[in-house]
Symmetry: C2
Subunit: 381 residues, 2 copies
């Protein structure tokens, strides 16, 4: 039997405890029984987001949460800053354009993070900018944005700070309230270790005020409809019942571990993986100052076909990692650290990467990557 | 242990075979392995829809499929007929208004079906009408619309016939191609016996031509994005992987049974339930000429609080049925026949209804409903 290990930056592995919940017969959603689950999900998400604000659950994947975060807050003709440092930053721009919101695009080289100073300057030069759209962890590059610093900048203006934390929520810190983040868009299939199908949006009072004025055409992604029933612990449309129920169990696991322990755990996996890459003579795509613990993007040896690496690891050996997107297609591989992964999963992934690198003719000492990761793990319990 | 029997018109019971699939670890969606599942889902849905047209799968609940069926085909300022004979018909009107499409609303008394002649007249008087939005089975009333007759009318015009078959697909016949239905919107959690989370849209070439001209703002529900990748057996955004995989298994069960056998099975359950209601001295909400086999809406005795009936059946005895919506709130109960239900489930539901009717003071001979249903079942094997 071939292994099926997902080291992909979403969907992530679903642990057996959550598989069991997903396999249960479902209940009807307009019942006190389901309301209990929904309340638990809202409370658990507020714990992870470190927020007191409203949380809304939509039956959709992450892009649905992002779309709701554009069309529910803005109006045609509004201006918004979008930060493009990878594929998911570009999605903010595309979403703004789809709703005739004018994006002021900040292009950041892939592998680097936006400077809060750039945003500060733009906001001070144009007081009409209604929102700043950024990506918490840019999944295409493995870069983390400094949300705390951006929050300091944006909170002084009328604009809202909107964050795509689809891949980062529950994996790295996000103090929504303390950091003055107004909107967070996320989903079930990354840090929460569940199948895709539940989209998450949290909104501050400042964002909710904008929501009331928004004129973009919308229906299913109209967060006003969700806000209207959230206090009755209800959803306006049929929710993804099965995944919502499993989400309560996932959040229970997160709470049992504790956020700090969880973040340290992922950091340890990420750092060991970086050590392994270096020991194999491979460089990292993200700059050190903004490198993410959510996933590690590794530059492959010059001339090697990255598509082949991914395909071979997956189809021959059963270990799924991700390749590059956009201009990075074929040039990198991305190994995720989120979800129910431990040090042995990382060693498995690195070992398989070594095997395939050897098969494709790259010269290095077999075992060097695994040994470096092992050393890091043993020295950092 | 209390029973948990869902006789609700969605979500429906998830049978053990599908629970097992839903509880499996998931795989990544950008892989040949998932493509095989996606292909199987597309093929199976074409079998159920009796169509050769494109089928698109979205991670959303049924309303998402309906929204995509408005914003992907029309443009602001367009005119469309919407038929309101219940809560879900009203949703078409709301969706049109959300996108500044002008709805020409046909109001039909709840419990009756629209006359194709009315639609024919409207279409002949206004050649600018772009679409006709109807509900296959109106879940709030248990009425089936005669799609074949409507198709005959609409096919002669430039308008497209768009059908909400969320609750009906796989339960009663829908010959998409033969009947000239241009768009069908459906979902995973009714006839397909799965949790909510997958929305289904099928579109004819006539509808696809409109799609190319549509100017409504959209992104996640932009069916052009789905069409672009459907031939590569892909989805533009992360699909609801777990439910899509389980859908292939559900479709296998449907194929094994055969559509005709399935439709006859549901018809038998519906007819026995109607006999039971009559034997209890209760009338049916839907007119006989358009009564649906998807669910049965039963008028409760004058003055009885229908909310109490539903609550007591569910919370005290573990049998979930649905109450009335809108003006029918508290006045009816709705018993579904779709999904993995058999004659014994119907007898269980009727028996529990009898128990609660007795408790609430309604005068009738205990056992009369069950006996009538049993008799129907035994005489119609």
């Amino acid at each position: 039997m071939k292994r099926n290990l997902l080291l992909t930056p979403g969907p992530t592995q679903v642990p057996p405890q959550l598989c069991e919940v997903l396999g249960r017969p479902i209940i009807h959603h307009r019942t006190p029984q389901f309301q209990n689950f929904l309340k638990e999900a809202f409370d658990g998400l507020k714990y992870v987001l470190q927020t007191q604000h409203d949380v809304y659950l939509l039956a959709a994947s992450g892009t649905g949460a992002m779309e709701a975060s554009v069309c529910s807050f803005l109006s045609p003709g509004d201006k918004a800053i979008t930060v493009e440092g990878g594929k998911f930053g570009e999605r903010w721009t595309e979403l703004c354009r789809a709703y005739q919101v004018e994006p002021k695009v900040v292009e950041v080289p892939w592998g680097r993070a936006v400077s809060p100073k750039v945003i500060e300057k733009m906001l001070s030069e144009d007081k009409d900018i209604k929102a700043v759209y950024v990506t918490h962890c840019e999944t295409s590059t493995g870069v983390t944005t400094d949300l705390k610093a951006l929050g300091e900048v944006v909170k002084k203006t009328n604009a809202i700070l909107v964050v795509d934390s689809v891949s980062a929520l529950g994996v790295i810190e996000l103090k929504m309230d303390d950091w003055n983040v107004d909107v967070v868009a996320s989903a079930s299939h990354k840090g929460f270790m569940l199948p895709p199908g539940v989209a998450i949006v949290a909104a501050s009072p400042k964002a909710q005020a904008l929501m009331a004025q928004s004129k973009c055409p919308k229906y299913y992604f109209d967060l006003r409809k969700y806000k209207k029933v959230v206090e009755k612990t209800d959803t306006p449309f049929t929710p993804a019942i099965g995944i919502v129920i499993a989400l309560t169990e996932s959040l229970r696991l997160v709470k049992e571990t504790g956020l700090d322990n969880l973040f340290k755990h992922y950091e340890r996996l990420a750092k060991a993986t970086r050590e392994a890459a270096k020991a194999l003579g491979l460089s990292l795509l993200a700059e050190e100052s903004c490198i993410s613990n959510v996933l590690t993007a590794i530059n492959l040896p010059e001339g090697m076909d990255g598509g082949k690496v991914v395909k071979r690891m997956r189809d021959t050996y059963g270990i799924s990692v991700a390749g590059g997107q956009g201009d990075l297609k074929g040039k990198i591989i991305r190994i995720a650290h989120m979800g129910c992964l431990d040090e042995y999963d990382m060693l498995t992934g690195i070992s398989c990467l070594e095997k395939v690198l050897k098969e494709l003719g790259y010269k290095f000492k077999l075992g060097a990557g695994v040994a470096a990761a092992q050393t890091y793990f043993n020295e950092n319990q």
